[in-house]
Structure formats: structure tokens, C-alpha cells
């Protein structure tokens, strides 16, 4: 009788130990998943950052080419310089989005100016820069989509039970989406027809 009781206690202890191990494994597994997702988000963000910088570097070239034909359009150039500076100083995701929007507006004004100078539009240097700029815009759009997709997956996971338990304990917080104005997403096109 006593032996049966002892076997019973050992069995219960065994089950408890097993449950603890399972819980521990799940906990560590979930934490690792969250860390991986966070790394993906950081990677996606740095891609956006790279492309924004690259676009920023292209702009002085573009501006000086346009200036060669339309030096009197001073206001447009000032707008661009200000917007560039603001974007360079952005620290958070939302500040970057704001800076992006402002630069977009300034650039579209520049393109409106360009419309008035047909010799400029057929300048090969300008065309090449236009393509480079459009390419960077497209890359930003792609990087933004990938970033936001990663953020969505991460945010969803840390809000849902049971991963939310781990998230709260380990200090994982929701990430911001990179939201920009929809019109700003228009990739400027080079068109021989017009």
C-alpha cells in the first residue's frame, strides 16, 4: 500500500516537472521568435533609411541640373533644402514620415517647374537623374511595404495570447508603422510624349 502511494507521488512530481520543462521551452521559443521578428523590423527599417539617404544624396545633383536652366526659381530650391535638412534631423519613425512628406511636396513642386523648360526635360543628365530618383522612390515604397508587413506581424503576435505574456514580461513593445501620404507614393514618371 505504501509503495503504491510513493509511486503515485513520484508520478505526480514527474508530471509537474514535465509541465515546467514544457512551459520553459515554450517561453524561450516564443521569446526567440519575438527577437527574430524585431531584428527583421530593424533590418527593414535600415533599408528605408538607406534609401532615404540615397535619395537625399541625389537631390543636390538634380537641383543643380535644374538650376542650370531655371536659376530664377529660388523658392523651390529653398523649400527642398529645408525639407532635406528636416528629414536628416528626424529621429523617430513618425518624424521621418513627416520629413518624407515634406520633401515629397518640395520635389513635386520642382517637377512642376521643370514642365516649363522643355530643353531641361530632354537633357540626358536630367533624364538619368529622374530615373535614379524614381528608382529610389520605388525602393522606398518596397522597403516601406516590407517594413510595415514585419511590424504588423510583430504587433499582432505580441498582442495575442499566449505570446503577450512573454512580450509583457520581456518588455517587447508595439512598433510604429511608417505612414506616408498616399499622393506622396506616386512614383514620378519620365514621359517622352509630353
Amino acid at each position: 500500500m505504501a509503495r503504491g502511494k510513493r509511486a503515485g507521488i513520484i508520478a505526480v512530481i514527474g508530471i509537474i516537472v514535465l509541465l515546467i520543462i514544457i512551459y520553459g521551452a515554450w517561453y524561450i521559443g516564443t521569446r526567440n521568435t519575438l527577437v527574430t521578428l524585431e531584428e527583421e523590423i530593424d533590418g527593414a527599417w535600415s533599408e528605408i533609411d538607406n534609401q532615404l539617404k540615397r535619395r537625399s544624396d541625389l537631390i543636390p545633383n538634380l537641383v543643380s541640373t535644374v538650376r542650370g536652366y531655371a536659376a530664377q526659381e529660388k523658392e523651390v530650391f529653398t523649400n527642398i533644402a529645408e525639407a532635406r535638412a528636416k528629414l536628416a534631423g528626424a529621429k523617430t519613425v513618425s518624424e521621418t514620415a513627416q520629413g518624407y512628406n515634406q520633401l515629397e511636396t518640395a520635389l513635386s513642386r520642382l517637377l512642376v517647374v521643370v514642365e516649363r523648360y522643355p530643353e531641361l526635360k530632354s537633357n540626358t543628365n536630367f533624364l538619368r537623374l529622374q530615373d535614379e530618383l524614381a528608382g529610389t522612390e520605388n525602393r522606398i515604397a518596397v522597403a516601406r511595404k516590407r517594413y510595415n508587413d514585419s511590424v504588423r506581424i510583430f504587433n499582432t503576435k505580441i498582442r495575442r495570447f499566449p505570446a503577450s505574456v512573454v512580450a509583457r514580461r520581456m518588455g517587447f513593445e508595439r512598433k510604429d508603422y511608417f505612414e506616408i501620404e498616399e499622393e506622396a507614393r506616386e512614383v514620378p514618371k519620365v514621359d517622352f510624349e509630353s
Binding site: 533624364l127 524614381a134 520605388n138 522597403a143
Partner: protein, 248 residues
């Protein structure tokens, strides 16, 4: 009655995601002419060039024509989605190039993978479309336009990788120093000068052998399968959104 409706709804719910995933077509070769615009001769030539480039450099070139890019919002969105899903280019090296034509939207896009962006930056991509592809497209000669575009790109890639492709890539001469088939031309000139008497005879022999090597160099003509003699899918390369778009 109610039970069968419930079953029908459940089946629909399960199938729906599968159906929506069918938005993108599947690749059948280097040339995927869903809009039926490319003539067979051009298609064959493009396939053999693409195969040679893939074998010699690992760079994968795809040509796709579609009627429309709907339900995607823009050609750029469709292009990168297609290129990434198909995984054009060698995995890890990301050496993929896609020529995409959307008929209804009248747009042509050259999508360049991460690994080729250094060789073909956006400005050059635009130039290639402007100089080599657009004129033919505007004249309605789609096959010729794509062929010239592929020749141009192949020549640039071959020069970068230091590879001698066994093909005549005439169009690439506008972009490269050697023009892809450069050595062949030099030999031809030397022969023509040396054998003044047989001027019409020997050069013809030379061109004949070069052409046959070019057409069948990739083993294309010998096998008659719809995959163009040995197309085994794309390598899983990645794209970042580089390239250029033009309207025609």
C-alpha cells in the same frame, strides 16, 4: 438544407485564399508571353541568349508580357511582386532581371535585382528602354523590342563578368566597350583583309558558323519541350525595387 449551405460556405472559405493567390501567373520559361505579342523567332533567340547568360554568369533574365496588371495598383507593384515570387536570379546573389510589359496600361518596366543594381543602375535601365526597346515597341514590333533589350542587358552583364558569350549581341554595342561579339568581328575583319580574293566566300562561312553556334549554343533547338530545352525554374533571387518604367 441548412447543413448543405453550411458545408458550401466552409468549402468556399477554405478555397478562397487559394483562389486569390492565383493572381500571379507561373513561369514557363525565360519568355512568358501571356499577352501573345512576341513572335516565335524573337522568342527563340531571347530564350537562347537568356540560357547562355544564366549558364555563364548566373544572371537570370525573364521577359513577361501581360494584358493587365490588375488587381495590382501599379506596374511597379506588380513587377516586384512577380519578380520576387518567381525568384528570378541566383539565390543569395540576387542576380535577376525582368522585362515586364503591361498591354492595357501601355507600360514597359525593366526590374533589376539587388545583385545587378551596380551594373545596371536606374539611369542606365531607363536609357536601355529608351534606346533599345521603346522604338520597336512604338512600331508594334514587340518581339524585336524585347530582343534588343535582352541583347543590351546581356552584353552589359557579360562584359561585367568578363565572359565571352558565344552569341552575336548587336544591340549591346551601344552600351559596352567590346559589344559582346567583339572578338568575332575583329577576326572577321582580319580574314576579310587577308583573303581579299575570297572576300565574299570566307566571311559568309564565318557568319554561318557563328549564327548556328549562337542559336543552338544553349541546347535550345535540340529539345522540343515547351520549356525551351532545359528551363528548370528560377534561382530564388531577391529584388529591392530598382529599375525604370516607361510608357509607350
Amino acid at each position: 438544407m441548412k447543413k448543405s449551405i453550411l458545408i458550401a460556405v466552409l468549402i468556399a472559405a477554405v478555397l478562397a485564399p487559394v483562389l486569390f493567390a492565383q493572381k500571379l501567373p507561373k513561369p514557363t520559361g525565360f519568355v512568358n508571353d501571356y499577352a501573345n505579342l512576341i513572335d516565335d523567332t524573337s522568342k527563340a533567340r531571347i530564350e537562347s541568349i537568356a540560357k547562355a547568360v544564366q549558364e555563364e554568369t548566373g544572371v537570370e533574365i525573364a521577359v513577361v508580357t501581360v494584358d493587365t496588371i490588375e488587381p495590382y495598383g501599379s506596374v511597379e507593384e506588380y513587377s516586384i511582386e512577380l519578380a520576387s515570387t518567381w525568384g528570378i536570379g541566383r539565390s543569395g546573389e540576387d542576380t535577376g532581371i525582368l522585362f515586364l510589359l503591361a498591354l492595357q496600361e501601355r507600360k514597359i518596366r525593366l526590374e533589376v535585382g539587388y545583385g545587378v543594381e551596380g551594373i545596371i543602375p536606374d539611369g542606365l535601365a531607363g536609357e536601355i528602354i529608351d534606346k533599345s526597346v521603346l522604338p520597336s515597341l512604338r512600331a508594334g514590333r514587340y518581339g524585336e523590342g524585347f530582343l534588343k533589350g535582352v541583347e543590351a542587358v546581356s552584353g552589359i552583364v557579360a562584359e561585367e563578368y568578363g565572359v565571352e558569350l558565344d552569341l552575336r549581341l548587336n544591340e549591346s554595342r551601344k552600351y559596352t566597350r567590346s559589344g559582346g561579339g567583339g572578338i568575332g568581328i575583329i577576326v572577321f575583319i582580319i580574314l576579310a583583309l587577308l583573303f581579299g580574293g575570297g572576300r565574299f566566300f570566307l566571311p559568309l562561312l564565318f557568319i554561318g558558323s557563328a549564327a548556328s553556334r549562337g542559336f543552338y549554343g544553349g541546347g535550345f533547338g535540340s529539345r522540343g519541350s515547351s520549356f525551351g530545352g532545359g528551363f528548370s525554374g528560377f534561382g530564388g533571387g531577391g529584388f529591392g525595387g530598382g529599375g525604370a518604367t516607361r510608357g509607350f
